[in-house]
Symmetry: D2
Subunit: 485 residues, 4 copies
């Protein structure tokens, strides 16, 4: 097929969540707890992390490229992050080191005090807002959409800082789960659609906000409840208050959180993520059965789906592909000579098990298809006689504008080819994607109904639940700043 | 139980293989291939890695602390490692940065040319040899036992370098698989017992030596054969030659390589490691059945055993414990306040799945027992009603002197307590270790017979296949050098 | 005397200029030339340096702690600084690494394009301006007074960027020499008093702006003229234009630039700095002659004054004190045990020459007096029989608010003690400071007249030529930001 | 002239001493004192420094590239260097980072204990020794000649360590001043010719060894005496003992130590270095007077000679060339475009002073002549009407083999051209080198007599006082090791 489907052997052909957020109010050594929470959310962003604390007098900020566990150790930045109030952020980014001014949280001294802010999601009118703000004299220090919110807060004429934040959020479009820290308050907000998750927990009487419940578990916090779509909660020494400052809308939670982004041990909106994934696998077994010797997951994200498939099909589940745990971020930039080895840096076939066998491979999704192609070849080279691919999500046909790093539509395999063509491209004997209705069944719905669905499934359906102001703008949105970053 | 069973939440309560080795002869960009091979062997040692090449004129050496993928990228040391002959080494070490002179390979200019050497294993008469060598004027630059071999080569009166190496190895006791590189030869050796593995592969007509077959797979090399215990192979432009310079002995391959050290996708001495581990799980199910709702592995090393158990027992296999993939080497040195959270940095209970369930946990081994204790508590806290522990190796009662980092006997739980006491210590409802005969059955033997066994199982039986000269010496072996390292 | 005159052996008891600036228009590899210019201005600030370039499309910015020669080498940041237009800045700062967001130049995207700005001097109403700007929604990212200018430009309602800059500067008080770079212009400005220097040069037809002429010499640029006090020059592809946008005032150039800050090979306002310093030495010889065997400079800043003294007095000039050229920024934080050795890290007595001799020491200034005390003791310990101290500036009695790092008045020796007391404190046999009129004579004036003087000599006289809005403000000016920096 | 006289603008056209050494016995925090001593000896070597201590139980070693003051600060390596006995070394080297295994001191565990050793000088039979040692099984870890001494000690059959050291030194040829540290002794040695300096000092009852007296001054130690040529002193808790183990020879101290290497404030063999340099300047004035307006030193090494010249000639001494104090080791690798600016990184003409003047420039030596050429051009460009060059050493015609980094003879200007040709090459109006007899007069001798001279002046005369075994060997001495370093 087309040669422009480039093959970087190190890309993992996954969509990437762009952020995880965490906040804590009133617990000594708050930054250490935030670091633990961010560590549990590391799957939502591995490129950089930041924490801001307030010690009663001053805010402290440390932002670093790299993993939380490597960067936020005691003796290092944690020692500087004094105070019992803190928020933090982990970030995924495709761009290089010079973008470290994009690492969150952001902080600003505003007229009514200081505010730190961490954002999961993406604004769909950020360019338009930025242009207006610059015209009025705001100076941007990053290329992040999140900075728009900060400037809207700073220039708001509302007095108290919570009012300023609400004022700001009424001007933005798109997806956001936010945590914000002021001198007197910890604030959590989800946009009216509730696209990204945010939960409330409690430990030793102190409130916690986190993207997922797995980040409550790591600090032994109990789960209180999800922040509601369109809800703003204010945590202070007086306890927690709830506000609903936005016009109500039908919620549209990101269905891909269940498919891939969230950790399997998280519980979102009452559903265990692992359970949903196993149920998708079971649906796949029902939708596309095939006679074979074993079900093999593409590790690690394919494991729950493969277990569900094997269980429903009554077939053996086998680790036919072994994952190397030591794949770091940088490896040998290979010469062409050895470039084709790429996939083996991460995965190897379990030759002794696969030889002479008919194999059902289960993976969570196909984006460009390049990794699938290599894995299937590897499995065949190890002696498998048949390879049937089953995918635990519908074909990914459309880009996400709500905080996920998606390739251009031109690079999405499913946007350009039929399933039969894709099957040939990846070299499988058969290929099946879960149907959209199958996916909804795994989520305990009867079927998808576009007029009532409470999920955002735009990456599978193209039905975007918000306007896409920047995308639809005539003007060039390319260059946010004259300063190269 | 005893307070001296200390609890470092970051230790993983595993034995650690101390090394992996790799060599390649005659392929352009040899260092890049060695780096790939070492990456595939990274599970055998994560602390440091080194590569030596020969370019026809000069040897080049780069040795770094850290992971191969992080340290040996192009643009970095690989660019300096010119030549089409290369050997490499990955190393596990318990000590700090100042020991970087212990990173292998070692290199020496000797009378007949240069020699680089990388060693997997451990000599049991290294102290005695070192004393004799120093007395005769050899200057040691490391505290490594491997350096003894290098000095024995340098001071040998045999002429050609292969003869010198044989001369040297005849003086050492213990376990060694070696790769050595001279200007004209790549040499591979296994000690007469063949305690550590070493295999021969071939790619594009070039010979490769590697600790395990998974390191052949990553570079698309075909497996040729295992190096035999007591065999020395010499690879040169003329091809490969085999020597058997030592008196023959009954081989004693390390059985723990099958239990834990080797990668599941490797094939050793004709047996697939994954298959052996599943077979141990099946034996466990037969030896110690229990009525329960599910089999849950302690990830990741418990997975094959748990699969084997579940299959044999006809029970569901479930991911009841989720592993965080982003655990680096350094994390928050926690205050006492949060120290008990330790285990959760790495594992979290899959709460939605475990609640109200009777669980069989499968792990590969118990060393100190501290991690098991925490995991069982975590599983119970998540709502499990019963927790039965099944261990895929016999009780670890004795230290290893052949290249594995084992705690003092005083810190080996099984050396000091009965199974019943251990069960109480870790807080399980029941605990069973595979029997030594069960282990041999999984290896396709009828039972263990100490007079004929071809495995070293000293860590389970205390029957050491070699003399332990240093251990049994009267003199203090503590301080190898007056120089603090 | 008072114990609160603390003794850090590494402080050099000098006042420190806070900045040097440089700009170049239209020359390929402009950043390399700016780096050279900044290297020549390194004496004006050693803590950090920054360069901004414009390549016709984008601005590029690199800012680093450390010396220009160490930080701005090719292969490093220079390679990224593309374009033939550039400005740069060297900075002295007393505070630590976290202040690296204070490193200049500053950059902002403003409505009419981008602007980069580098500032030598200090605003005396920065706090007041900052408060007003924050109240109106500006977000500050540094604690630098210079950032006020940037926000005043961004929020100005004037259209074109030069008009905006003028608009901004009309609101600031204090001292500033500035270079600014926009897409189409290189701008140089001196405040109406012309407190800090700024010169225009030309090389290969390209205009250059620099704090001192020594920075023209290093790139073989010819000196064109000083920028006039209150003048704004605009350099573009069309050439150079001059504006005088401010109400005219009597210039007040900083006299301490002649005494110590400027490099001896620079020529300021027509006077060679080395010549002025020699003339001060000669005045000292006339004002305070003494019978002695030799004149010895405190190296290196006392050398020209000592030469002038020796020549006028007809006495031998001798290197009685040798300076260690390798004094870096960090040395052994000594235990009390060896703390008294401090001064010797930098200077040692030339014992063979001093023994039994009567010595006149010449230094440029005394701030706290601690170094003088140690040097005199060292000279006596080496055998000098008499030590007479001559200082090439009047007593420093008042703090500077115009861009010089001066101790609090309480720590200025001359603000608290008589010359006789100071003489006892430093342990000299006699002590003389040049009189203020002597200083003016060396500058080829008859005498100082406060109503006509064209110099700012506030540090000697307390007569400040501008209002000191922030200093005189009632409110606390301490905490500029709630964010600890 | 010849194009092979290459022009690296950053080379300073000086010969470079290769080492300074320091030792201390019995003082708490000995390493801090050694660091101070090495700082005072930094002019003898700037590339790397190392310190070894003994704490009664163990030796500790820290070796770093860079300046002592930057690398050996408390909180860093000094904290690890426990003990009250210590030796240290500063090193000059022309080669890159991979040679850090050449950083001294060297340490070895030998049969009778540990020994650390630091060496100033150079052996002239190092290749021959190395070959013999390797043949007998010694393994070299550096390319340093000093390591030969260590192996000779290790393989010596003499019992006690002092005897072993004497045994070793009897086999070496060339120049060495050594300090060595064992568990019970601090040893200092000078070779029989005493080519390099070494002095004994005492502070608070503790003995000190140092290359120069300036290193005694910095720690307030009193000068006791020079170590004698051919003397070995042993310092222990019992005091100091002197041995003369070698056959006596006529001493031949390096005369270039007086000319350039030693610090002006040091006193060697009873003569103050500054005094000798002034005396050379005075001789120059007598040997080569010229009518001019001023005497200008090439800073900093030309200053004492220029002062002596000016004083003897009755002419003004002026700082006509200003040195930039911030020249680090790495600067902009210039494009050809700006390469010619090289010299100005370090020096600038004092334009206001030089204009229209006839100038006598005084420098200490000319090696390749490239810097002189640029400086003279710079002085002329600044307006000087005549430039007369006076050099405070005879023409450098021959390489040094005793521890000085000298260019090949083919690159020594004076080895290839007459004085008249050199004068044309550098572009001076006149050029004069001090005569060899003038030099001896400045050293208070009547004249040079080759049969009685107590100085090594081989670089001016080609009369080498030792055999040059390696130089005269037929075999290739190029490649010391097969390992690229």
């Amino acid at each position: 097929m087309s040669a422009d489907i480039s093959t970087n052997p190190f890309a993992d052909d996954k969509l990437h969540e762009e952020c995880g957020i965490f906040g804590m109010w009133g617990k000594p050594e708050a930054a250490a707890f935030v670091a633990l929470g961010l560590h549990a959310l590391q799957h939502r962003g591995q490129e950089a992390a930041g924490i801001v604390t307030f010690d009663g007098q001053q805010f402290h900020m440390e932002r670093r490229e790299g993993l939380v566990g490597d960067q936020f150790s005691a003796g290092g930045p944690l020692d500087k992050l004094k105070g019992n109030k803190a928020i933090g952020h982990v970030r995924y980014s495709t761009t290089g080191g010079s973008l470290n001014r994009n690492i969150q949280p952001f902080f600003a001294d505003v007229a009514s005090g200081g505010i730190a802010l961490a954002h999961n999601g993406n604004l769909t009118n950020a360019h338009a807002l930025r242009k207006r703000l610059v015209r009025n004299g705001s100076i941007f220090y990053s290329t992040s959409d999140t900075e728009c919110i900060v400037h809207l807060v700073a220039t708001s004429t509302a007095g108290p800082i919570v009012e300023r934040l609400i004022d700001a959020l009424k001007q933005v479009e798109g997806a956001y789960s936010l945590v914000a820290l002021t001198r007197k308050k910890l604030i959590g907000v989800r946009d009216p659609l509730g696209v990204r998750p945010l939960v409330i927990g409690k430990v030793d009487g102190c409130y916690v906000l986190a993207s997922e419940t797995c980040a409550l578990d790591i600090i032994d916090a109990e789960f209180v409840r999800d922040v509601q779509p369109g809800e703003l909660v204010v945590i202070s020494d007086e306890g927690i208050e709830s506000f609903k400052p936005f016009p109500p809308q039908r919620p549209r939670f990101c269905v891909f959180e269940y498919v891939y982004f969230a950790r399997p041990d998280s519980i979102i909106d009452g559903l265990g993520v692992y359970e949903v994934r196993k149920a998708i696998g079971a649906e796949l077994a029902r939708e596309a059965p095939v006679d074979a010797d074993m079900v093999v997951p593409v590790p690690d994200s394919g494991v729950p789906g493969a277990l569900g498939y094997a269980e429903a099909a009554g077939m053996p589940f086998e680790l036919g592909i072994i994952r190397n745990h030591y794949v770091g971020r940088t490896f040998i930039e290979p010469s062409d000579h050895i470039r084709h080895l790429g996939v083996k840096l991460k995965h190897n076939a379990n030759r002794a098990r696969l030889k002479g066998k008919r194999v059902i491979l289960v993976d969570d999704s196909i984006v460009r298809g390049t990794t699938s192609k290599k894995i299937i070849k590897m499995v065949r080279d190890a002696g498998a006689t048949e390879v049937h691919m089953r995918i635990a999500s519908p074909p990914t046909t459309d880009s996400c504008f709500y905080g996920v790093d998606t390739p251009e539509k031109a690079n999405l395999l499913a946007a350009n080819y039929t399933v039969a063509e894709m099957c040939r491209f990846i070299g499988a004997d058969s290929l099946h994607f879960i149907t959209i209705n199958g996916l909804y069944r795994a989520l305990r719905q009867n079927r998808r109904d576009g007029t009532t669905t409470r999920y955002c499934d735009a990456c599978f359906t193209g039905e975007y639940p918000t306007s896409l102001t920047d995308r639809d703008s005539e003007t060039d949105n390319g260059q946010l700043s004259l300063l190269a970053m």
